[in-house]
Amino acid sequence: MILFIRWLLRRRRERRGGEPASAGRTAASRGPLALVLHQAFYDLRGFLRNRQGRFFTLVLPLLFLVIFVAVFGNDKVGRLHLPAKVYYVPGISALAIIAASFVNLVISITVLREEAILKRRRATPVPAWALIAGRTLTALGVSLVSVIVLLLVGRFAYGVRLRAHTIPGLAITAVVGSISFCILAYAFSTLIENEDAAQPMVQAVMLPLYFISGIFIPAVNLPSWLSHVAQVFPVQHLSDGLHHAFAPATTGIGIVWSDIGVLALWGAIGLVFALFRFSWLPKAATG
């Protein structure tokens, strides 16, 4: 990721007259995209140095995949009676996207806000959208890397094949899901009063949703009222969308527009909420 962003930055710089990296022109003077990439580059560095963040977004989903496949092996699960390993590769991919785009981001935003780091950044000329887009790009990048790792492990350890024609559908679902959950993270962080509350609050919301949205347990095993509840929330739609790409009966690019639509709708609701409620200043303000 870091190498990729570096490469993008270098390429942009070359296009703009081939100055070497050290020529002293700042990200801000090279335009909006350069500024967003600049922010994403340092956010990613910070993220990669955080052991807890690395564990929960990159290692834990992989552990879940290994455990669930080990437990259910070749059992036929879910509505489509797929082997457990085919079921859990996309399901745990949804979990990985949510871990990086929502859980990690909510905690990170809350810490940055409460420690007045966002406030200090806002005392500089950097525009708000550059900070938000940069951090979102980092979360999106981490989400996609995490999903790719899961797919590769699924393919080479468990022989779970993704058919080439459904790759676009999977990619679009993953990207839209990740961006929607990032926006929801900005919205949700406004409900959290302090850093200590971030982890428990975000888990209190997500754990039940993982259980009712087919991430851990196939939805066919749920009473119908509970699956109706799950239908309202975006977790179910991300996981269904990704499952669809793996279903043998799927033709075309493997996209479920209704799932994408619900994810985008949640993103839009989150955006409106965040625009009204988001604050750069610590909530536990001092006099």
Binding site: T26, A27, S29, G287
Partner: protein, 302 residues
């Protein structure tokens, strides 16, 4: 020349309380201005209004000719802020933190020169959260300086420091003067203001109670000095010359005189003592410290 900061009748009301109750301030270019007051006196509220973080209830505010309530990126290119409570950038080294912030500006200062200015050369590759409190604050100053601002706000930059860390921080702030920066410093430490400031304003209960240079604040230059000494056995205050007896302010084993012209009175005292063959080994002449003036000024209001 237009002042860098000018405030007229600034008021900030929370509920029924005026946190800032109509204050006037002016800070000139190149000046180190200390804004002094006890906790809760309205210092941080005022600074945050000047920085553009808070709205005001009423009054006129101009910072670099702009109302901070309507400030834009061009204005923030010219202003640096060291906030009271902000923490280190997580996961970034000192150098990386400065690289991140320098990217926000159009014409930033040189990163190595800025690291050297705050004396963090040896810590440049250290993760910022691993720095000591004093070093972290110096990194904050470096982050506020990286955009090469004309005006820097420093909100209680040395609170909680040990004495040697404070000395180092003072050297850094003093160095800003050499760069020609205007500095708006808030502090509740008298010695800090005395050491650094060209001019001081004292706020208490939301109002400016005194303004002046460290030497003249609160009429310090006109306040009486205290002369104290102990007389040997068998000699009493009544044996002093009339001229000195008139200055007597206390006698509790040790004589205390208050004097508007300490040099003349100490001279008279010395002459009298020599003529009697007395030594005054604990003779002590004290001008009121800035601390005394400050406590006097803020006592009733705080």
């Amino acid at each position: 020349m237009e002042p860098v900061v000018s405030v007229h009748g600034l008021r900030k009301r929370y509920g029924h309380v005026d946190a800032v109750a109509g204050i006037d301030l002016e800070v000139q270019r190149g000046e180190i201005f200390a804004f002094l007051g006890p906790n809760g006196a309205g210092k941080t509220t005022t600074v945050e209004i000047l920085e553009g973080f808070r709205t005001r209830t009423s009054g006129e505010v101009r910072v670099l000719g702009v109302d901070p309530a309507n400030s834009d990126a061009a204005w923030r290119n010219r202003v640096g802020a060291v906030l009271q409570e902000s923490n280190a950038e997580p996961g970034l080294t000192v150098r990386e933190s400065l690289q991140l912030y320098s990217g926000y500006y159009l014409e930033p200062r040189d990163i190595d020169a800025t690291i050297a200015l705050v004396g963090l050369e040896e810590k440049a590759e250290t993760l910022a959260p691993q720095l000591s409190g004093g070093q972290r604050r110096r990194l904050d100053v470096a982050l506020a300086l990286i955009g090469d601002p004309e005006l820097i706000f420093l909100d209680e930059p040395t609170t909680g420091f040990d004495p040697s860390a404070r000395r180092t921080a003072w050297d850094v702030i003093d160095g800003l003067r050499a760069l020609g920066k205007t500095v708006f410093l808030t502090t509740h430490y008298m010695d800090e203001a005395e050491q650094l400031a060209d001019r001081i304003a004292v706020i208490a209960g939301g109002q400016i109670v005194a303004e002046g240079t460290p030497g003249t604040l609160g009429g310090r230059n006109r306040m009486a000095a205290t002369i104290r000494f102990t007389l040997p056995e068998g000699t009493g205050a009544e044996d002093l010359p009339v001229e000195l007896r008139a200055l007597l302010a206390g006698e509790d084993g040790r004589i205390t005189l208050t004097s508007q012209s300490p040099l003349a009175h100490v001279g008279a005292l010395a002459e009298w003592a020599r003529s009697r063959g007395i030594d005054l080994p604990d003779l002590d002449v004290r001008r009121p410290t800035l601390e005394d003036v400050y406590l006097e000024l803020t006592r009733s209001e705080a």
